[in-house]
Amino acid sequence: MTPEPLFAISTLLFCIGLVGIISRRNLFVTYISIELMLSAVNLLLATFSRLHGDSAGSVMVLLMIAVIAAEAALFLAIIIQLARSKKSIDSDEFSQLQQPRESL
């Protein structure tokens, strides 16, 4: 097996995640797209670890998985908080931190 298909699939996964972040307004889809991009990087690290026969890449993927877990906990807590306050997960609804138009 050659590594090119693995490179292609992780690039495609990263691009799909990026498209999801750009094009959707559902906060949950944004969250899952970030996870997909992180997983694409994981896959690439594992591929390079296998290419060089070196286990440092595997260790990096393990640490990345821990970071993914931390990110999931935080993002889901934020989604719960926002959904509770506005009854919606539309990213356009959440503009509390935006400056009022007239003061710009």
Partner: protein
């Protein structure tokens, strides 16, 4: 030959899952697509002789993160009318795909310029013993930092997600 067909199957599942995430209107379908994609990535780890990462991916990402996401989706329980209105969703997806395509091509071209064939690996490669050995010798400091990060994330998640207690007195 068998390896290639397994890879093709896993890649198909991965793409179906990822497309489900960004195409579907229902949030729960996105979460299921996420589950399919994570399982396919676990399979790809196994195909890369990385048995430990396969286990970690199944247990942490497919087990904990996806289940937590599904629980949040079902507990928020948004009605159809509360989902974001996205009348131009497909147009947005097509336009942003066109925008992202050159970037992806750049990544792919730079990756295949690093092309090597797979190295012959030693027998213990990717197993628990080898990864653990490496983790607790060369990578101890990042490991400790990650444990502090997980603690901070746990505290922050509790603080953010708890209900505000109003003091009416």
């Amino acid at each position: 030959m068998l390896e290639n067909s397994i890879f093709a199957l896993l890649a198909l599942f991965l793409m179906i899952g990822a497309m489900m995430v960004i195409w579907s209107r229902e949030t729960i379908l996105s979460a299921f697509g996420f589950l399919v994609a994570m399982l396919a990535i676990a399979g790809l780890f196994a195909l890369l002789d990385n048995s430990f990462l396969f286990l970690a991916q199944i247990m942490v990402t497919a087990g904990a993160v996806v289940v937590l996401s599904l629980m949040v989706v079902t507990s928020i329980n948004l009605k159809e009318e509360n989902l974001p209105k996205e009348p131009y969703k497909f147009r947005w997806i097509v336009v942003s795909s066109i925008l992202v395509a050159p970037f992806g091509l750049l990544i792919y071209r730079s990756l295949i310029s690093l092309h090597k064939s797979f190295a012959e690996v030693s027998s213990g490669y990717g197993g628990l013993e080898m990864v653990g050995d490496r983790l607790f010798t060369d990578w101890v400091l990042p490991f400790e930092i990650v444990s502090v990060l997980l603690l901070a994330a746990m505290l922050a998640a509790i603080v953010i997600a708890r209900k505000e207690i109003r003091d009416d007195s």
